[in-house]
Amino acid sequence: MEILNLEGTEDTPKIILDKKNGIFEISGRSLPEDSAEFYRPVLEWIAKYGSEANPSTDFVFKLEYFNTASSKLILDVLSALEDIKGMKIHWYFHEDDEDMEEAGQEFSELVEIPFEFKTY
């Protein structure tokens, strides 16, 4: 499967989705002008991955900040991941960022995927 690799910018996150090397990570800031458009390739990649997924997948979210339009798309990403067997979410937050911790907890209540919370 092709690797999806997007460099982070001041308003979009860095994204690496690499099946072969088992790297699945969204990190940085997410406040794009058009969040649906920005996350479209991510959702398409996950849909493809779902039909040929690795036995287990550790999907990392290491976000510094995201806006509300992105939060809806993050939920869409999580919902897409929900159907894949062996999925686990690693939700990172800065140790004094209780809002990011709470956001992760809320997402974990909205989807049926195991979440592990970690500080960085």
């Binding site: 002008e33 649906a36 900040y65 509300t68 339009a69 809806k72 960022d97 809002d99 909205l110």
Partner: protein, 183 residues
């Protein structure tokens, strides 16, 4: 040219650290965020306060980009809106103003009043309720901006609609972010 000095004095007396008036786009949003961030960083603000302020700024600026109504007055068309940040000893205030067609006020007012009637738990429930059921609108919003601002603020959203003309009001919004931990 006395207005220059008057404007300066107003900014000082209102504790404003940044004022921008003009057209709002994603590009101006990024520039304003970068400027405000530098200012807040250089003041040595605590990072959790800074993040909350940044959060409210983004939602406020993107609201203007997406929802500010174009002002049409005869031959003149204008998108001009205003964005301000104030810093006082105990709080930051994030303020914005943009033209809104009078017909669009009732719906906006209703959603702001609904949010202001909720406590912390109620806002959390409303957030989850909306995010589960919403789809991204044509304008690119998720309908979560005001709820998120209220949650980050921990206080009420202050708003007014002073009249501009027969057709327009000026939607003025003020969101406070306390500088001390509230819990």
């Amino acid at each position: 040219m006395k207005f220059i000095y008057d404007l300066h004095r107003t900014m000082m007396s209102q504790n404003l650290i940044l004022v921008y008036q003009g057209d709002f786009t994603q590009e101006t949003t990024k520039s304003i965020l970068a400027m405000a961030e530098r200012n807040i960083d250089s003041s040595g603000e605590e990072s959790n306060i800074k993040r909350k302020v940044f959060n409210v700024m983004v939602e406020s600026l993107q609201n203007i980009v997406k929802h500010s109504d174009e002002l049409v007055d005869g031959q003149t068309r204008s998108h001009a809106a205003i964005f301000l940040i104030g810093r006082e000893a105990n709080r930051y205030t994030i303020m914005s103003g943009n033209p809104i067609r009078k017909v669009n006020i009732p719906k906006l007012k209703e959603s702001l009043e609904k949010i202001n009637a909720l406590d912390k738990e109620g806002l959390k429930e409303l957030y989850k309720e909306i995010i589960k059921n919403t789809t991204i609108s044509e304008k690119g919003g998720a309908g979560l901006g005001f709820v998120d601002m209220a949650r980050k603020s921990g206080g009420k959203l202050e708003f007014e609609f002073p009249e501009m003309s027969a057709e327009y009001c000026f939607f003025s919004l003020k969101v406070n972010v306390p500088r001390e931990a509230t819990e």
